[in-house]
Symmetry: C3
């Protein structure tokens, strides 16, 4: 079984900014050698988000505007009040947006390819930038059958009920 | 190790419509032979959602009304404006609802059964129908010990710290 | 391959209450022996939520207030109306909040440690307490290489493309 992971570092430039990480994830999947299996992409921060959506400038502007509308920037948050909080970033709204968006995505891998619909992309949302940010992706599964050593290929023919791979 | 996947096709009939996919997922789990392991169910679209909830007509009407209330259907979205977008479906609200609901669910399998609470069901939400839609489910794990070939059962007795399965 | 799972029981004391489960999850990961792999933490209820966030009293008060603001407690929900529903808990708002928060988290494990950012904690939200609640966590992956039997270590040297573990 293969278990491969990689951390992505990025420097965000705006307060709120979306990034399409699909190509990075696909590129690492190819490197990983995982042919069939599962994956997880996780942000390592609490004022960011991970989700699937289409990539289009107009839609991404709508996402930004919607998040600002849904979660007010200033609403008497205790997290932004020095009487209750030692955080001086005034970023309660970013925390709340982050909770709504979620922080990790479960992925599927089939025949070496990420299982995504035609318009689905893996999007990372900076919600309290600009800052350096880290994401981690991991794939777990079996490599391509062609790359198995000879004795394993024989086993898989002998025990096909086992899925052909140990 | 077993890794099994299947795509579900469905034709939705309404603009917003919920589907209980639990029986489909359980049925495929039984077919897959995975006895212990993990699963992922993913929508392949960007104007749909996946989540856990109870199945009850009254509650599902509330979910529909709530999504319409939370994300306004028309709010000057750029994605719906031909000056900024080449999408003619006017479906920005569906995209935003989709991002809030999420697009994939991580599942657990124990002794051949999907780990779900008494009232938990796996629900797919159409948010911009009617349309043909695809979902993909995948299970990864080990088969039932009884089905292992004899030499493997011996191995599992010899090396119990390995979980009994290679 | 190791696949280990455990159910956490807890008794909530408030209508809405957040719990930091990170130490429970880390403790079970250590017990499980999984050194590299994936995990899932799932709630088994439909009026609860699971998410990542920072632990801070002020922020948690903001989360509580925000959920109450975002989803009105009483808004003519059919689920709360005996004409449409046989549920007498009047908990439609808790169901809707639960759908927004999500019910399962995909996790990564690296070298025996849960992959989490500095401020990320695994949080369980009671949304319709007080009640007894159950969560289930599962880890799947490979154990530490040092614990492999000798013949496996030899195999891993012979077939390094296989990740060193069968």
């Amino acid at each position: 079984m293969l278990i491969k992971a990689k951390t992505i570092q990025l420097h965000t430039a705006e307060k709120v900014q979306l990034f399409d990480l699909t190509n990075e994830v696909k590129g690492f999947l190819a490197e990983s050698g995982v042919w069939n299996g599962m994956g997880v992409v996780s942000t390592l921060h609490t004022t960011t988000g991970m989700f699937f959506t289409e990539v289009q400038d107009a839609l991404w502007d709508d996402v930004d505007a919607f998040l600002r509308h849904l979660v007010e920037e200033r609403a008497g948050y205790k997290h932004n009040d020095p009487r209750f909080s030692d955080c001086d970033r005034q970023n309660a709204a970013a925390h709340l947006r982050s909770i709504l968006l979620g922080g990790s995505l479960a992925l599927q891998v089939e025949n070496g390819r990420l299982v995504l619909g035609q318009f689905q992309r893996i999007v990372f949302a900076e919600l309290d930038g600009p800052r350096p940010r880290s994401l981690r992706m991991q794939f777990m599964g079996v490599g391509a059958a062609l790359e198995l050593p000879e004795w394993k290929k024989k086993d898989s023919r002998q025990f096909p009920t086992n899925g052909g791979v140990q």
